[in-house]
């Protein structure tokens, strides 16, 4: 049937049914949506050029040919709290129930590179993650968990190189060469300047550390993903789905430039680049966004950066339903929100999921809520049939149209940052920060005016609801964590060779001044049980610290 005929039929249908009288609908970013999409919308889609087959350039339909047929996505829960013993126990509980590997949550002192006995750490030790001061904590964290079989993923940025050095050393102590180690480390410091504030050094030396880690892993840890670009950190701070993708790509471009400036070719490490994005509840928009993102990344790697190896062109990503979509009111609703976000991720072709538990707006998950988060994924993977067919939304007039539109929008946003001189400049000038804060403000105003509905929050709220407060059981932080942790730190201090620690720290400073790759020296230093804070302090002497731009 010719498109003209369809067009005429649609006109008639619109008039007959008075579709212009229907209430308007908007996309998540506020664009008005037509009532239906038709073959006219995808008239210019060239199947082989724009979509192709899964595993083939431009990878719109998926990064691997078989996608979920062979294996469903990697299912992991972000997990860590208290001391290393507490976390080791929780991990074993989750691994026994089908969690694929471990995704380590570190407490804030660890993420900021200070010890548990630092005065600023007083109220934070073991609260949001596990406390790591020295290699000893890592040894306990991984007790009876052989590193050659386990996949670890680390959410750590400012002291990423130190944690990686500890993990490599731990592997060695367990008897495994570094090339056996598999996992992912976020090692994405730029997102911290934009959004979450877990920075220590200024961007330029921080980028060097990122580069040191990537370069070292490229040469010695072929199975490890040495950076995982975190759109999620910016999305959760308020970025919309286009900004998330564009800012994450711009940050990735800065890292790639840093690493290639050391003489590595983009194909040496391109296959080890991965991403971590958050997904909202707009299932079709998110799925389209991921399809667009895959296509644009492939094009960027091939055309802009000169990648030749198709494996370098893959936008591999871990997804999660954004925790900022979870609410404290009627919190069990978060289970449902989480499951819809999960569906959007999987229709979008995610390689892994870190699914948040329903009680995370309050506290770290209980054993029960963590298990439910894992079960939510397993039910989608094994009971619904969703993973049976690759890219099931491919060919949808709606999703294909959005895919094209989003690809263009993300590309335009990246161009804007290019024109500013790249990600580091855009961050130093506070551009990304400001753009994200205004989006966060837009969303809260829309929620306030009920334009953005949150069930139980601004719609369907009963008048007498305030009276019905249910008692719920949340994770209780152990009040003795800090004390236990400090005891261990002191014990390590008593047992270690102080002279060796001092020598290693001195050598580290010297190498830091000379711009040598610091990884071998970090490995040496953690091995003699220098603490994370001692190492960070030594590096601060050389690198200095960051001053935050304050423009809201």
């Amino acid at each position: 049937m010719s498109l003209d005929k369809i067009k005429q039929a649609q006109k008639k249908w619109e008039v007959d049914n008075k579709v212009d009288k229907l209430p308007p609908a908007k996309s998540d970013m506020g664009a008005e949506l037509p009532l239906i999409y038709t073959p006219m919308d995808i008239e210019n889609v060239d199947y082989l050029k724009d979509l192709g087959f899964p595993g083939d350039y431009p990878f719109t339909r998926g990064v691997y040919p078989g996608m979920y047929r062979k294996n469903p996505w990697q299912m992991r829960l972000y997990s860590g709290f208290g001391t290393a013993e507490d976390t080791n126990k929780r991990w074993k509980f989750l691994l026994a129930r089908g969690n694929n590997g471990v995704a380590v949550a570190f407490d804030l002192p660890t993420q900021m590179g200070i010890n548990s006995d630092h005065p600023h750490a007083e109220d934070e030790v073991g609260k949001l993650g596990v406390a790591i001061d020295t290699l000893r904590d890592m040894e306990i964290l991984y007790a009876n968990l052989p590193l050659d079989k386990l996949i670890s993923s680390f959410n750590i940025n400012a002291p990423a190189a130190i944690i990686m050095a500890m993990y490599i050393t731990l592997g060695e102590k367990q008897g495994f060469a570094s090339e056996k180690l598999a996992g992912t480390i976020s090692n994405d410091i730029l997102c911290e300047y934009v959004s979450r504030g877990m920075w220590v050094f200024p961007p330029s030396p921080a980028l060097r550390l990122t580069g040191d880690l990537v370069e070292y892993c490229t040469r010695h840890l072929p199975k490890f993903y040495p950076f995982n670009i975190r759109g999620i950190i910016m999305r959760e701070a308020g970025a919309n789905m286009i900004q998330e993708a564009a800012f994450a790509f711009s940050n990735a471009l800065a890292y790639i430039q840093e690493v290639t400036s050391r003489g590595l070719h983009v194909d040496d490490f391109g296959r080890r680049i991965s991403f971590f994005f958050a997904t909202g509840l707009q299932i079709f928009e998110e799925a389209a966004r991921y399809r667009a993102t895959r296509k644009l990344w492939a094009r960027t790697m091939r055309e802009r950066l000169g990648a030749k190896d198709p494996k370098s062109m893959l936008f591999r990503f871990t997804g999660t339903t954004g925790g900022s979509y979870y609410r404290t009111k009627e919190p069990l609703n978060n289970l449902v929100r989480g499951a819809y976000g999960l569906l959007g991720n999987i229709l979008g072709g995610a390689q892994g999921m870190l699914h948040p538990a329903w009680d995370e707006p309050f506290a770290i998950p209980t054993e029960e809520s963590a298990l439910l988060a894992l079960r939510t994924q397993q039910i989608l993977a094994y009971e619904t049939g969703v993973p049976n067919v690759v890219d099931p939304l491919g060919g949808s007039y709606y999703v294909e149209t959005l895919t094209k539109q989003y690809e263009r929008k993300i590309e335009e946003a990246i161009q804007k940052i290019d024109e500013m001189g790249g990600a580091v400049k855009a961050i130093e000038e506070g551009f990304m920060q400001k753009a994200i804060a205004s989006e966060a403000y837009r969303m809260i105003r829309e929620e306030k005016s009920c334009e953005r509905v949150v069930v139980g929050m601004n719609k369907f709220v009963a008048e007498d609801e305030k009276q019905e407060k249910r008692e719920m059981k949340f994770h209780e932080a152990d009040p003795r964590v800090r004390e236990r942790q400090i005891d261990r730190l002191n014990q390590v201090r008593n047992e270690r060779d102080e002279g060796a620690v001092e020598n290693c720290l001195d050598e580290l400073k010297e190498k830091a001044r000379r711009k040598e790759n610091l990884m071998p020296y970090l490995i040496k230093t953690v091995k003699v049980y220098a603490s994370i804070e001692e190492i960070m302090e030594a590096l601060k002497e050389v690198f200095g610290t960051f001053k935050e731009p304050l423009n809201i």
Partner: protein, 133 residues
Amino acid sequence: MNNKRKIRVLVTKAGLDGHDRGAKVIAMVLKDAGMEVIYTGLHQTPKEIVNTAIQEDVNFIGLSILSGAHVGISKKILEQLKEKGAQDILLVVGGTIMDRDIDKLKDMGVVEVFPMGTDIDSIVSFFRDRLID
């Protein structure tokens, strides 16, 4: 009433928690409501917060915390305010705060607590009403 001074609020992030979405949004909301807002940025110590509050001559300190460290940090800020004789500056806390901690914070001397999900208009009117009292 025209010569009445505008309400001045110091919005701040203490400790190690860097989640500043709420702090920035509240700063924008209060500004839009005609108040004067000073935002300190991240990682402030209780001492720095109180010093800035005195220097900036604010009516309120609005502390945003999502890490669960609110009891300890609020206590230290209140102690600093007392030590400096600046108890006319009122401390308000917002963030990830469970019901059971709200009374604890208020007993310590925090004038109001806005747990996650609080209606933004009620925050604005709290600041206004509290000064008229």
